[in-house]
Structures are given as structure tokens and as C-alpha cells.
Subunit: 206 residues, 2 copies
DNA sequence: GTCTATATGCAGATAGAC
DNA sequence: GTCTATCTGCATATAGAC
């Protein structure tokens, strides 16, 4: 459903397209459904955006950015290590709670076409190499200073990311299995900001 | 690519279909591609399996089973708590290392149509309610006995599952970002069987 | 800008020869 | 069983009226 009256705009159409693309993915999305969701005609989609692929790319770039820039920022911020972890966890869960389907969408479309990661990553100036190196060095330092237990930086990185992101990727499964409604799930994620952080801290503190 | 000679069989075709469906998902998969992958003709697919949906359902059920039954088994086995965690982690990572794309496929197709979880879950006699209750009780007991720190069972469950599964779901992203080839990734997952286990244990041990 | 009508192409499915 | 040829329908895209 959409609106009943008046002027569609690029903005309105894009919002509709976001909903459909993030729910169905590129191949599952239908122009007809986007049009209906926006309350307009199929032809109008082509008037505003040349074709499906163009539309998709615009949306994907936005979502890609939403998904990655925050993490990169949090990782590169210049605060004490444990504090940094706190802010990464907090930021990730906050973002994903607000944007249901974001993580799943980005991950799936990259899996379909991995070169998009390079392509859009460069376009946004993201540099995973630097980020990873930096993180690993930081881990090493903190290990040497006895702040945290010895651990492989890559594994720690994967653990943090996994704990934050997976529940949203598998949200339909988790909700069903744990018999939660939307609000219960949201509450659980809200609590998770602390629970996940403490879990990680306990895991790495000597 | 496929084979150059001789008798296709249901088996051969199904293997081809698995590859294509798990890579592309239902909506992205093309009968033509499956046929090519199997080295046969499109019409023959329809001879063996009525239509695309029939084919998909057969494959999905298999993959669903592969994905879930192992976990459920591991969770319900009757061994000490920490040992159980060890076997869950070990089992999950082993399975997913062997079946690239399994987790992503199952999660994505359930996200597309969440009722498949109920539908196929019942068909296989899985009972998430019981499993979850059992796990939570176990957590509670271990907390009371001072074996592990106080923790919300649902969060712990999500943490364990996340840590095991997410790296495979996001494999294309992780491989690219960490600049790993297939073998390096496999090695890292092999090591992860222990690393992940220790991480979890450290997180929950008092 | 927004619509209706239409063109084009492709994917799923069937008919029928061998 | 396995193929070629063909039908059908749907999804994307365009033309053109208003």
C-alpha cells in the first residue's frame, strides 16, 4: 500500500523501491510491485529512472553505504580498545534495528555478485586493508599490555561482527523459533547492546 | 560445465540444481542454467521433475534438513554443558565448511517466505519450542551451580549460533576484505573450531 | 508528469519426433 | 530417455495520447 493522493516524486518512488528490493532482492523484485507500492504506474518508474538496473544501483549504493561506513567509522575512531568495541556493538545494533533487512540485502547482493564489493567500496573510498591492519595492530598491542587475552585479530573481528549482525540476518528464523513478535524482538535487541558487549568483554578480558 | 558423456539421472540433475539454486536462490535460478550445468536439455528437467517449484522444494527440504537437524541434535544431546557447546560449534563449522552456501541459501529462502520454516520444520518433526526451553533450563541450572556466569539463555544461544554461522553467510565479504583465497578461508575456519569455542567459554566462565 | 496501449524478449512449460 | 520445436505467459521497456 502507499498513498492515496498527489505528486509522486523520485523520493517517494525510491522509498517504495527500497522496500521491494530489500525484501525480494534484485531478481525477485518486480517493477509492478514497486509501482503499486508507490501508488503509481509502471511506466512512470521508467520515466524517473531509466530501468530496473539503474534503480537498483542507486538503492544498492545507498544501502551499501549505510551498512559499511558506520562500521568503518567506529573501527577507526580513536578511543581505548574496549570502549571502541562498545561503540561498534552499540552502533551496529542501533542501525540494524532501525533498518530491518539492510544487512541481509547487502550481504545477499554481494554474494550474488562479489565484485560489487570492490566496485562500490572504492567508490565510497573504503579501505578494508587499512582497517584490518589497524585493528590487528591494536589487538596485538592490547594483548602485549595484558589488557586482553591472546587472540587472533581476525577471529575477534569476525566474532564481534557476527554477534551484532547475524541476529538481524536470521531475524525471521529467530523470531519464529523463539516465538517473538516484532516488539519482543526489538526489546531483545535493545538489551543485546549491553549483553553482547559484556559477552565479548568477558571473552577477551584476562 | 558438467560432464561430456552418457546417462543423466535424477541424481546428476539434482546436483546441478543444487548448485544453481544455492548460488542464485529460487528467483534468480534459471532452468537453462541448471540444464547446462547438468549437461542436458531443458526439456529433460521437466521430464524428471514436473516444474521449477517441484525441483526447488525437493532441494530446499534436503538443505533445510542438513542445516537444522544437526544443530538440533547437538543441542539435545545429553552431555555436560560446556562439552555440548564444544560439539555444537565443531559440528556447525564442519558442516558449513563442507557445504558452501548452505546457510545463506536456507536463511534467504526462509526470509523470502517465512512459513516455509513452519512447514518444513513440522515435516521433519523439529520442535524449536522444546529445544529452546531445554537449553534455557540448562543455562539456568549451570548458572545456579556456578558453572557459568549469569546470562540470558536467548542471548547466549544467539551468540553461539551467530559466531558459527555468520562467517559463512558473509563469506564473500570476509574473503574479499581479508584478502583470503579459498584455502586460507578454510584454514581459518578450521582453526575457528577451537578459537570460537574458547571465545565462548571465556565469555561465560565465571 | 502521468497515464494506456503496445512492443520485445525471455523463461517456464508442453508436444511430439526419434 | 533425450532431443528440437513451439506455445504461453509474464516482466521489462517503449510509444504516444493527454
Amino acid at each position: 500500500m502507499a498513498k492515496t493522493d498527489s505528486k509522486p516524486s523520485e523520493e517517494l518512488i525510491l522509498n517504495a523501491a527500497v522496500k521491494v528490493f530489500t525484501r525480494k532482492g534484485y531478481s525477485g523484485a518486480r517493477m509492478e510491485e514497486i509501482a503499486k507500492e508507490a501508488g503509481i504506474n509502471r511506466a512512470l518508474l521508467h520515466y524517473y529512472f531509466r530501468d530496473k538496473e539503474t534503480m537498483f544501483n542507486i538503492i544498492f549504493e545507498t544501502k551499501f553505504k549505510e551498512f559499511f561506513t558506520g562500521i568503518f567509522g567506529a573501527f577507526q575512531s580513536d578511543v581505548p580498545f574496549l570502549e571502541k568495541i562498545k561503540s561498534i556493538v552499540d552502533h551496529e545494533i542501533t542501525v540494524l534495528t532501525k533498518h530491518p533487512g539492510l544487512a541481509r540485502f547487502v550481504i545477499m547482493e554481494i554474494a550474488q555478485q562479489p565484485d560489487r564489493l570492490i566496485q562500490f567500496g572504492q567508490k565510497l573510498g573504503l579501505n578494508p586493508r587499512t582497517m584490518l591492519k589497524h585493528f590487528q595492530k591494536e589487538v596485538q598491542q592490547n594483548v602485549q599490555q595484558g589488557e586482553i587475552r591472546p587472540i587472533d585479530g581476525r577471529q575477534l573481528l569476525m566474532n564481534i561482527i557476527s554477534i551484532c549482525i547475524y541476529p538481524f540476518v536470521a531475524k525471521p528464523i529467530i523470531k519464529t523459533m523463539m516465538q517473538m513478535d516484532e516488539n519482543t524482538f526489538m526489546d531483545l535487541m535493545e538489551k543485546r547492546k549491553n549483553d553482547a558487549y559484556e559477552f565479548i568483554i568477558n571473552a577477551i578480558r584476562p
